[in-house]
């Protein structure tokens, strides 16, 4: 019978002690009801004012395979993954061994001690806490399905005693969560208290403790997909065509929900239209058709969908039709790791489709920016008359993040870009669909049905002259292609600028990062600074890159480019678009499908800075990558 916290053998390292700063990881079986219990666990900590970064790691199946829920508690407010597990709650026999391995020496193992486990199943350098969860529930409930269901909230109860979750907070939460089904409030509360009481009776609190705090402030806890969907509502999107695919599905579902609430008239008629297409090609086709006809339209998908949409993306580029695509990136290539995260669609999205093409991308770093860019994308794609990608990933899209509350300025108007009105046409304004009248590469367009005799034109994917007439002439083609380059230059000046995070001391070392890497990167930078490693950091927020990015690179000897993909895709884009000498760009890559951690980054960049100048992870003399 393994020891409990009450009896510590001298041999093992002292139990970890920390207040508001530790990592708890639950291991469960999907479809077993753990998801909502674990969610309550995380939320209760947030309600105590302590920052939490919670990540749900789930399989590509519906029932019976392993899932994990990692809760990173941070008094300093770090929201990235830290790396390592301080308190493990492995409730899934299938993964027990791996789960136990992950615990840091001196850490804690909380398990269901109903049926005894051989000592070999444990470790000497960790502290084990057994609670007979199954036993408790079998005694308390008759119906098997209830036994399973309430076991989850029972272990949350036990944990609440061990790490100091405020039970009053939990009670409030349960009342909110089950408001629609009052019957369940009491039932869950009882289960919670059953676990809590048993623990109080048999166990002492552990070294990892929670204290009320105010780091959370008035921040909200939300998924990036929901935030992006809400952004699309505020951005005036009226047409959504999509095809289900993990991890983007919940974006379309959230858009549906928000539209039902916010865009439905009293008589039940809807100020939006949502179509589940038969596939991704139909979905982007619907978006392009709607954009051509003057509605704001979007689709959301993941890598495989982008691959299928390639042809239409090229049409949008060449025929200059607004379209917004939310790409919630997952592990590629092919079907890859559908329930894991990656930043590996950048290169494809940037140059999608055959021929010479370049596309705009927005790179949100958290749900807050998902909302902001989710709305902005529509202004940009109308203004630029082309496809705008919003590049999320599973980590941002499907995980709940703590972010500042969403903001909106009621004076803000939708920017529909250069659209000729019937009045302008009537007044005899010049209209040449593909003529660069403003010298910014952006031509004017008209919506179908605008004027009885003026402004009609024929849209095609083939080459044409400035008046939209069919042409196979080389000069017409080249003239048009050069204008498209000019337009892309304009894009670089209106997309969100990169944001700097200067080092405390002057340094020649810089770092570029983006998207979901952000919180872990910020934590790593603090850590490195504490070690005396000073790094000017810049977060890239869009493609094409603004001049500020090139200036930043020019101002440093070496730049670490941090990405969650294998092939250093952002680095490639910097080289291609900015003519950067690759010798100055050092790749820091993490791509196993798990979200990048602060500890990984601190090590990788730290080692890099220790290393001699000149010796680079990426060789500086011509030759293939090592």
């Amino acid at each position: 019978m393994p020891d409990t916290i009450t009896e510590i053998s001298g041999a093992k390292p002292a139990p970890l002690t920390a207040v508001n700063d530790f990592v708890v990881k639950f291991a469960n079986v999907n479809g077993s009801g753990s998801a909502s219990a674990n969610g309550l666990f995380a939320k209760s900590i947030i309600r105590m004012g302590v920052a939490v970064a919670a990540r749900n790691i789930f399989p590509s199946n519906i029932q019976g395979l392993p899932t994990w829920y990692e809760v990173r508690v941070s008094g300093q407010g770090y929201l990235g993954r830290r790396g390592g597990v301080d308190l493990a709650v492995p409730l899934n026999p299938q993964t027990w061994d791996d789960d136990v391995k992950e615990i840091v020496p001196g850490g804690y193992l909380f398990y269901d001690s109903t049926k005894p486990l051989p000592a070999s199943k444990f470790r000497d350098d960790i502290h084990v806490i057994g609670v007979p969860l199954t036993q408790l529930c079998n005694d308390a409930y008759k119906i098997p399905r209830e036994r399973q269901l309430f076991k989850n909230i029972t272990y949350v109860g036990a944990l609440s005693h061990l790490i100091g979750i405020d039970p009053a907070v939990m009670e409030t939460l349960l009342k909110e969560e089950f408001a629609s089904k009052p019957k369940l409030i009491g039932a869950n509360l009882n289960a919670f208290n059953m676990g809590r009481d048993w623990a109080a009776k048999h166990l002492m609190p552990i070294g990892l403790q929670l204290k009320h705090s105010d780091v959370v402030g008035n921040r909200i806890f939300v998924e990036g997909n929901a935030a992006a969907a809400l952004g699309a509502v505020y951005g005036g999107a009226t047409v959504c065509a999509w095809y289900p695919i993990t991890p983007s599905t919940s974006l379309a579902e959230a858009f549906t929900g928000y539209c039902e609430d916010l865009r439905t008239d009293a008589d039940g008629t809807k100020r939006y239209a949502i179509v589940q297409g038969e596939d991704e090609i139909a979905s982007i086709g619907i978006v392009v058709g709607a954009g051509w006809n003057g509605a704001r339209a979007f689709t959301c998908t993941s890598g495989p969908g982008i691959s299928l949409m390639n042809e239409f993306i090229g049409l949008s580029y060449f025929a200059e039709i607004p379209a917004v695509i939310f790409d919630v990136q997952r592990g590629g290539p092919s079907t890859g790791m559908p329930t894991r995260t990656q930043q590996s669609d950048l290169l494809l999205a940037a140059y999608a489709s055959h021929g010479d093409t370049k596309h705009v991308m927005l790179l949100p770093c958290d749900p807050g920016e998902c909302f902001e860019f989710g709305a902005l994308a529509f202004d940009l794609s109308d203004r630029l008359q082309t496809t705008v990608f919003v590049m999320l990933d599973l980590d941002i899209g499907m995980q709940e993040w703590l972010v500042e509350p969403f903001k909106w300025d009621d004076k803000r108007q939708l920017d529909r870009g250069k659209v000729m009105t019937a009045e302008q046409l009537e007044a005899g304004a010049f209209f040449g669909r593909y003529t660069d009248v403003d010298k910014d590469g952006i031509p004017y367009r008209t919506y179908p049905g605008t004027h009885p005799t003026k402004g009609a034109f024929f849209t095609r994917g083939t080459s044409r002259n400035r008046m939209a007439g069919y042409s196979e002439k080389g000069i017409d083609y080249q003239d048009n292609m050069e204008r498209l380059l000019a337009k892309f230059k304009t894009a670089a000046t209106i997309v969100p600028k990169a944001v700097q995070r200067p080092a405390k001391q002057k340094t020649r070392m810089g770092a570029l990062y983006f998207g979901s890497t952000t919180p872990a990167m910020h934590e790593a930078l603090d850590h490195l600074e504490a070690q005396g490693h000073h790094i000017d950091a810049m977060r890239v927020r869009a493609f094409p890159f603004g001049q500020e990015v090139y200036d930043f690179i020019a101002a440093h000897d070496e730049i670490c480019v941090v990405e969650q993909n294998r092939d250093a895709q952002l680095r490639s884009l910097l080289m291609i678009e900015g003519n950067i000498d690759p010798a100055r760009l050092t790749s820091i890559l993490h791509y196993d499908g798990t979200p990048i951690t602060a500890r990984f980054l601190a090590d990788a960049i730290g080692n890099r800075m220790q290393a001699q100048k000149g010796v680079r992870q990426v060789g500086k003399k011509p030759g293939p990558n090592p």
């Binding site: 921040r219 909200i220 806890f221 509502v233 951005g235 903001k407 909106w408 939708l414 994917g461």
Partner: protein, 351 residues
């Protein structure tokens, strides 16, 4: 076709419709199709139908895929916006356009390759979805623009220009459209104005997914052995150099025949189509009967033409989605952006 070539000076004698417009006002650019191509006859029928219905040209949107047939929207209704999109995807582009503005009339023009081969999925799903459109397939049984390969509507056993035999069973788009829930289904022949023009008018007036399969001979590639014609320098020449070096203009094939009649139409290449025009007393509101009749006649080697099925109480995608009566593309910031107050509520719900 010549009428398109004529300058658009409005001869006083030209008949005007209720809008005071003449046919000229419904014409388009000069066709670049082969002289005699059935597709140009269909363009003429579309022009006639829109003229008769006194449609405001700018209230109609022309959308097509890729192919000779899909080029035709450039050759009619030059005051309408047109979109020659990508191959096989007209249905999705049209669906999106329709969602953006329910007030316009949507005319989808496609080919048999465009709709029955690469586009079969979108053809089927746009119909299932109930998109309010007139979907016209200009069906010549070949890929014209890529020079005469089989399309999925070519009948099993037919031979191509290169003498290759088609080994796949041909798709009857009319039968499929019925299956899939089209609420207006018809078939006609490019050379039969009397039948085709009213059929198109009916489709445009129909509220719901209307599909018309129009058989449309290709003068360039339905031009293979089995021809009944006597020695011809041109064919001999093309055969000898084995490439399609010379293509001669032909006069479009026309076919006028009475309801109930069977009419054999000989194409430029001598191959024969047996067209059966449905009888006046045929009941177009019985779907199962329509499908059954189609199959039986087909078993007899006949191609049924006419209005095969119509559901007078059809609904469309907007009805099903309950979208507001105002076109979505007309809505502005006020109607679309919920504002800061609503956002504050949402923020509160996320704490």
């Amino acid at each position: 076709m010549t009428y398109i070539l004529k300058p658009k000076l409005h001869h006083p004698s030209l008949p005007k419709n209720d809008l005071g417009l003449t046919r000229r006002d419904y014409e388009g650019k000069v066709s670049t199709l082969c002289a005699g191509c059935g597709h140009d006859s269909i363009s003429a029928a579309i022009i006639a139908a829109c003229f008769d219905l006194a449609i405001e040209p700018h209230r109609l949107a022309k959308i097509s895929g890729i192919g000779c047939s899909s080029k035709t929207p450039d050759y009619f209704l030059s005051q309408s916006h047109g979109f020659n999109s990508v191959h096989g995807r007209m249905p999705s582009v049209l669906t999106g356009a329709n969602l953006a503005n329910r007030d316009l009339i949507y005319l989808g023009v496609s080919g048999d390759g465009d709709s029955a081969s690469i586009g079969l999925g979108q053809f089927a799903h746009s119909i299932r979805r109930g998109v309010n459109m007139s979907y016209i397939v200009e069906n010549n049984g070949v890929y014209g623009l890529t020079k005469g390969q089989f399309s999925a509507t070519s009948d099993k056993g037919s031979k191509s220009k290169k003498g290759v035999e088609n080994t796949e069973s041909g798709i009857d788009l009319v039968a499929l459209a019925l299956q899939l829930g089209a609420t207006y289904v018809g078939r006609s022949f490019s050379g039969d104005k009397e039948q085709l023009v009213p059929l198109i008018k009916g489709a445009i007036s129909h509220h719901g997914p209307a599909f018309i399969d129009v058989l449309s001979p290709c003068v360039a590639f339905n031009n293979h052995a089995g021809s009944t014609k006597s020695f011809d320098y041109v064919r001999e020449h093309n055969d000898a150099v084995n490439r399609l070096d010379v293509i001669l203009g032909r006069t479009p094939i026309t076919a006028t025949y009475a309801p109930g009649e069977v009419r054999e139409v000989t194409q430029h290449d001598g191959s024969v189509l047996r067209l059966r025009k449905i009888h006046e007393d045929y009941d177009p509101t019985n779907k199962i009967a329509a499908a059954n009749y189609l199959q039986e006649r087909h078993a007899e080697g006949e191609i049924v033409t006419g209005l095969l099925y119509v559901d007078p109480n059809a609904t469309d995608l907007h009805d099903r989605l309950e979208t507001t009566a105002r076109p979505l593309n007309h809505l502005g910031t006020a109607e679309l952006t919920p504002g800061a107050a609503a956002l504050a509520k949402i923020n509160a719900s996320l704490r």
